[in-house]
């Protein structure tokens, strides 16, 4: 790995944390601001090593609120910017996430989840998946991805930047200690084969400065960069299309916030991705995400091979917006839905809601602080079905 260029095509053996930052660099990220916390610190260390040599900026801030706030200014100035933290720090960043949703600011936050509440522990977890969606105050949907391998850490981080730029919104990469610390092969494809998305500017749409509305023109408004001649009001108060906040009325309020929410939710099928295996003819299904999906598929394959149980597998690549319609289309009629998670049953709730009239029951398989073993998931499947 050369220090002063983007990762070249080839085969590498990297930690998930390193692959995440390399993905960010490949996506065009040149600003990182952060505050260290186990188990996310390796991303920050790698950023400190890499970004200055690429002409980028690395800033250690005094806390997580200021770290995330740096991304706002960087993004408005035209940069792609990210930070990484772990669960207690992610709590502190909620204020900025809310602000970024309302100001429609593209940025990427990686949460290398550890168990909570409080300081909790420094091992692995998936206990922030609801905080990702509902932790910020106010309305407004969010995009959150769930990587399960070192290759995913690279590719999903690129995807996170692309989604942030495309939809003008903060995007969350909900990693876990498991996937951030493991080392695996990373295959970097040839340049030009990785799609990179950049935000639409008013210039791209032929909009002159005097006609520019920073929150208008489209469901996803074009975003001007500071210093290019366009007047921009980055406001997190309820605002008109021109950014004006002085003439409040409920109709404008509804249009403003509903548009920000709907630009994500109207496009769930474009944004959200999931992966299926062994679904053909299955009677039951196991639904999971993140590193638990590695144990999950192992358990499904063993249950099929050892006892002939007709069980299929679905992995959510995208947690939010939740792919409800996709799940319903895949599962018109199913028996038991197993949901192993490294929490006490969080995503089991939207899954239950999505499949309320499609399945016999939803069985949560919780684990706190450590990855389920295949035996643990198998035992629950066998107990339920035999």
């Amino acid at each position: 790995m050369s220090n002063n260029e983007i990762l070249k095509p080839g085969v590498y053996y990297l930690q998930g944390a390193q692959a995440c930052l390399e993905g960010a660099i490949t996506a065009g990220c040149r600003v990182y601001a952060g505050y260290p916390i186990t188990p996310a610190t390796e991303i920050m260390e790698h950023a400190a090593h890499r970004l200055p040599r690429l002409g980028g900026r690395f800033i250690q801030m005094e806390d997580e609120i200021s770290s995330a706030s740096v991304l706002l200014g960087a993004s408005w100035a035209g940069a792609k910017a990210m930070t990484a933290t772990s669960s207690p720090g992610f709590s502190l960043m909620q204020e900025v996430i809310s602000f970024a949703i309302m100001t429609e600011t593209p940025l990427v936050i990686v949460d290398v989840q550890r168990p909570g509440p409080g300081q909790g522990y420094i091992t692995t977890g998936q206990e922030d998946v609801m905080q990702a969606r509902w932790g910020h105050h106010g309305e407004g949907s969010i995009i959150a991805l769930s990587p399960a391998s070192v290759q995913d850490m690279f590719e999903f981080t690129i995807e996170a930047f692309n989604l942030a730029e495309r939809w003008r919104t903060p995007v969350l990469v909900m990693a876990e200690e498991t996937v951030a610390h493991m080392r695996e092969r990373l295959i970097v494809p040839a340049p030009g084969t990785i799609p990179i998305v950049n935000r639409t500017k008013p210039q791209d749409m032929g909009i002159a400065p005097e006609h520019y509305l920073p929150y208008g023109h489209a469901q996803v408004p074009p975003m001007a960069t500071w210093g290019e001649g366009y007047n921009i009001n980055h406001v997190s108060l309820v605002h008109h299309e021109d950014g004006n906040v002085t003439r409040y009325n409920p109709k404008v309020h509804f249009e403003n916030v509903a548009r920000i929410h709907r630009k994500i939710e109207d496009n769930v099928d474009t944004i959200a991705r999931l992966e299926t295996r062994e679904l053909e003819g299955c009677r039951h299904v196991l639904i999971c995400y993140g590193s638990v999906s590695r144990t999950g598929i192992e358990a499904v394959l063993e249950a099929r091979a050892e006892r002939g149980i007709p069980i299929g597998f679905i992995r959510l690549h995208t947690l939010w917006p939740f792919p409800e319609r996709q799940l319903r289309d895949l599962l018109p009629d199913v028996g038991v839905v197993f949901v192993p998670e490294m929490n006490l049953g969080m995503m089991a709730h939207p899954i239950m809601e999505a499949l309320r009239d499609r399945c016999r029951r939803v069985v949560s398989i919780p684990s706190l602080g450590s990855l389920h073993s295949p035996e643990m998931i198998l035992a629950r499947i066998y107990e339920e079905l035999q």
């Binding site: 085969v11 053996y13 420094i122 498991t178 080392r183 092969r185 590695r294 192992e298 394959l301």
Partner: protein, 188 residues
């Protein structure tokens, strides 16, 4: 789909013995130069208390789903604590490499293939105790030559150590390899 065989290596000892480094070298050798999939993890959090250190490499021709060791094929134990902690998860007929100067209490013989390799003493012969891990790596290579090319390990080793130590590292590797060959495999 056909589920592929996993080959699981666990290396354990104290922090500072280079346990993590040889795990990374093995993973790089298998995956970057050997064309196989591997996942390398290391001890963390509660496991690493009290100076204990562990590194794992799971290797397969196919997908590696569950990333941790389930039933180890190999245990390299560089301390008594490491052996006591992990011997129960070494599969029957598995390979146990241990340093007889550090590990003095062994479980009853018969279940595993045992290889006593004086890694500390051999490392001292290279001039520095810090090469103990690479002595152990050489010893392991002699026992799993059907699974990995020496050239792959050498390339991974070169990538992972400071350039000026490459020659000594290679000498340490050969010491471990030759010890096993001459004491257990009747080869030279």
């Amino acid at each position: 789909m056909t589920r592929q065989q996993r080959f699981e290596i666990r290396i354990a000892g104290f922090g500072g013995q280079g346990v993590v480094t040889i795990g990374r070298i093995l993973g790089t050798a298998f995956s970057v130069f050997g064309g196989k999939n591997s996942v390398n993890t290391q001890s963390y959090g509660p496991e690493s208390r009290g100076g204990a250190c562990r590194s794992e490499v799971v290797v397969s021709e196919g997908d590696i789903n569950y990333p941790y060791v389930r039933n180890a094929d190999v245990l390299i134990a560089l301390s008594q604590v490491a052996l006591d902690t992990y011997i129960g998860e070494l599969k029957e007929g598995g390979i146990l490499v241990f340093d007889p100067d550090a590990v003095t209490t062994l479980p009853p013989s018969g279940r595993f293939l045992r290889y006593a390799v004086p890694t500390v003493a051999l490392a001292h012969e290279t001039g520095d105790l810090k090469y103990q891990n690479v002595v152990a790596l050489g010893a392991l290579y002699a026992l799993i030559r059907d699974r990995i090319e020496k050239a792959s390990l050498m390339e991974a080793l070169k990538q992972s150590v400071p350039p000026k130590t490459i020659d000594t590292n290679m000498a340490a590797f050969d010491k471990g390899k030759r010890y096993v060959q001459s004491h257990f495999l009747r080869e030279t």
